[in-house]
């Protein structure tokens, strides 16, 4: 049983390696990271920030949990269009939730405002097949700023 488990784990680790170019022919410039990778990372950071603040301030959980879930759903969609597995939930947390609920809320509001700007720029620069998703993410982040008022 142990051996089978180890084999499965190895198999899982090996699959992404081949996808990363181990067997690729070296016949083109490295395309570099996908331009949406920073947005994916930001979605995970925002999700973690809301989750942490909801844990620290239970009175805010009703407000913050759906927002955290939205960021997680954005991350899942972004990972899908980039073509990478969704990074594990242990993303580096955003700012440590501030001392009291009001300042935690204000800090989250600021990070949503920044996130809205990032998504707006990404939408403007995106090819057609990605633009609608990025538009919804920008709009969602704008509504988060409003909800956190």
């Amino acid at each position: 049983m142990l051996r089978a488990g180890a084999f499965l784990a190895l198999g899982g680790a090996a699959a992404p390696l081949t996808g990363c170019g181990l067997l690729d022919r070296d016949d083109g410039p490295d395309p570099g990271p996908d331009p949406l990778t920073p947005l994916l990372d930001e979605s995970l950071r925002l999700a973690a920030g809301h989750r942490d603040a909801a844990a620290a301030h239970p009175a805010l959980a009703g407000l913050l949990t759906p927002i955290a879930e939205a960021h997680h759903a954005h991350a899942a969609e972004l990972a899908r269009v980039i073509g990478v597995p969704l990074p594990s939930a242990s993303a580096p947390a955003a700012a440590v939730p501030a001392g009291d609920p009001a300042s935690a809320r204000a800090a989250l509001r600021e990070s949503e405002r920044g996130g809205r700007e990032t998504a707006t720029r990404a939408c403007a620069a995106a090819p057609a097949e990605r633009a609608a998703l990025l538009a919804s993410i920008a709009a969602a982040r704008a509504t988060h700023v409003e909800a956190l008022k």
Binding site: A70, I137, H144
Partner: protein, 148 residues
């Protein structure tokens, strides 16, 4: 208003215009069921839809394309008999109109795409404010404007 699946910018903008007509019409029955701040907000929302309607008519007619006509009336998704129903319809109107502008985003670039995104964001924000006024939670949806 059905789910938007336009092929090009003119189709997408024509569909958005039809959605704006319906939104303006819907704010009639909404406004009469509201009072105070909510009524003022409804008036402002209606004015925003009228501005976009007017812009779209100018844009589509100068582009030489066909301009969809307004209708005498539109079917409401549910009867509106009180304040709660009016607020619920206002949420619905903003979400649905937002979906038509979202559909404009991928078929445009540059300033046209910026404008479509601005409309999507504005209507999504209004939907959130209407939910707050109605006491509907959560205040937000994960993907504003995305067809469900």
């Amino acid at each position: 208003m059905t789910a938007p699946t336009p092929a090009g910018p003119a189709d997408a903008l024509g569909a958005a215009l039809s959605a704006e007509y319906a939104a303006i019409w819907a704010y009639g029955p909404i406004g009469v069921r509201l009072t105070g701040a909510a009524r003022t907000a409804a008036r402002e929302a209606e004015a925003a839809h009228r501005r976009r309607r007017d812009d779209l008519i100018v844009r589509l007619s100068t582009g030489g394309g066909s301009v969809p006509a307004d209708r005498a009336g539109y079917a409401l998704p549910f009867p509106v008999t009180d304040r709660a129903g009016a607020l619920r319809l206002a949420v619905e109107v903003e979400e649905r109109t937002a979906a038509f502008w979202r559909a404009v985003v991928p078929v445009t670039t540059g300033a046209d795409r910026d404008g479509a995104l601005a409309a999507l964001v504005e209507y999504a924000l209004r939907a959130t404010r209407w939910r707050r006024a109605a006491g509907i939670t959560p205040l937000t949806v994960p993907f504003p404007g995305r067809p469900t």
